[in-house]
Symmetry: C2
Subunit: 276 residues, 2 copies
């Protein structure tokens, strides 16, 4: 059954049982609160990598119970990130999580040839959104990792997003390749990429979902808007996955949902040995 | 006084008195309803250019009162757009409006050397948004006309947006030049453009507003988010104007606000002899 809310996602995670999560630069209150909460609910066992003294002080000051968590002393964030990747690589943890460290530094550790999680595929970001008033989870990619994807990279972005949606029970997700317009316009290169991706899916070169594009955001998610524009498409108006043309567009879409539409977001980086 | 809601905007427009609006390809129910409503409220006198028989039938069928409106027979949308530009150019109308015609075709008529509204400046789109739960109008540009703006064009986009905000009473609008991150990153060209625009404003090369960038959407509009990121800026957290890096990002931001955050939007194209 497709997971349609974060509450259902939580139930599914509880059924699977706790995963071991290694957190890089865990010396931050928000992070420790989330870790304690996840442990309490039986979702995760946490390994905290960071400034041990700072972690203990923050926990004490905020009355956060970190008694059951292992702490590994590594105050320098970049080294903490490397340590976290090592833990995952060696199988001591299943998930690498970012604490008080720049996203770029965290990803550089994940991509490191020596300790990183590369398996020869592209690492891509998939945002999962629960939006008030919207009837299903919406998956958006790539809003956080790949800056200006080439066509080859867009194929991997689409494939990774389909994988995440399928893991959350959407058997054959509907994928909209977004652009500023639904018309293929030689002057707008993103519409050409979108048309190419859609045709690749028609030819079976991208698998697991129903893919169409270019579509504008309105006609990707609103049946009414798709109807007014007269678009005939299995995806128009009912997309599960939105593929942004680049990180700028994806990032703005994701942040508009979070800040103005009050959506809840869970972000995940896939394509490596384990999720980030 | 700054106009903060569409209701206040309506009041201000009523004080100015009705403008003559020429509508290209007016043979559509939504358009006729809006025209009749604007006339009834004393906001506009409308000239309908389009398929006369279709206009009359739609009006009759929908009980829409178009009795006071002049109708000019021109069933072909592209020619109707040219006629509308001519009316504005000759001073018979003050505003050109798009009916049932592709945006591209409408703009091509506006840009036409013979009948168009060019005055040597760039035509740019400014979207004005009223967002539920947000304390002020938000201006976004360019989400509809300039596809991949050069630095020179971005300067005009910023300047036009400042002009529109000022006309709506925001004396010194705060302008956020958006990118996927607030850090200047040599690998992300849009952050470099944003930094350049901000510095041009410091040097007085762009006037009339307080300009900063790069800023990500969250730290442009949320004081809380700007504080957490430790950004020191007069604009961060309190932007009136958001400048998108390109039409894809702008379009997605605008549509996310309209469809998911239930915002009301009024779009205008400025930079020509008269607004579109």
């Amino acid at each position: 059954m497709a997971i349609k809310t974060f509450a259902q996602l939580m139930e599914a995670a509880l059924e699977v049982g706790p995963k071991t999560v290694a957190i890089a630069a865990a010396h931050e209150q928000e992070i420790l609160l989330a870790a304690a909460d996840a442990e309490k609910q039986g979702l995760a066992d946490c390994i905290l990598v960071g400034d041990r003294a700072a972690i203990k002080e923050i926990a004490e000051h905020g009355s956060i119970d970190i008694g059951r968590m292992m702490i590994i002393q590594e105050p320098e964030p970049k080294l903490a990130a490397r340590k976290v990747m090592e833990l995952v690589r060696l199988g001591h943890a299943q998930i690498a999580m970012k604490g008080k460290i720049e996203t770029g530094d965290f990803l550089r550790a994940a991509l490191d040839r020596e300790v990183g999680l590369r398996v020869g595929r592209l690492l891509t970001h998939v945002g999962v959104f629960e939006i008030p008033g919207f009837d299903r989870l919406l998956f958006i990619s790539d809003a956080g990792v790949v800056v200006a994807p080439t066509m080859e990279q867009k194929i991997e972005i689409v494939q990774n997003a389909i994988y995440v949606a399928q893991r959350l029970g959407v058997k054959e997700p509907k994928v909209a390749i977004l652009a500023a317009t639904e018309m293929v316009n030689p002057k707008i290169p993103t519409t050409l990429d979108a048309a190419n991706l859609a045709k690749m899916a028609d030819r079976g070169q991208i698998k697991g979902g129903i893919i169409d594009g270019p579509l504008a955001l309105d006609n990707a998610i609103s049946l009414e808007s798709a109807r007014i524009k007269g678009i005939k498409s299995e995806v128009a108006g009912c997309a599960d996955i939105l593929i942004a043309p680049d990180i700028e567009a994806g990032n703005m879409l994701a942040k508009a949902l979070t800040y103005f539409a009050k959506a809840h977001m869970a972000g995940i980086v896939v394509g490596g040995k384990s999720p980030l």
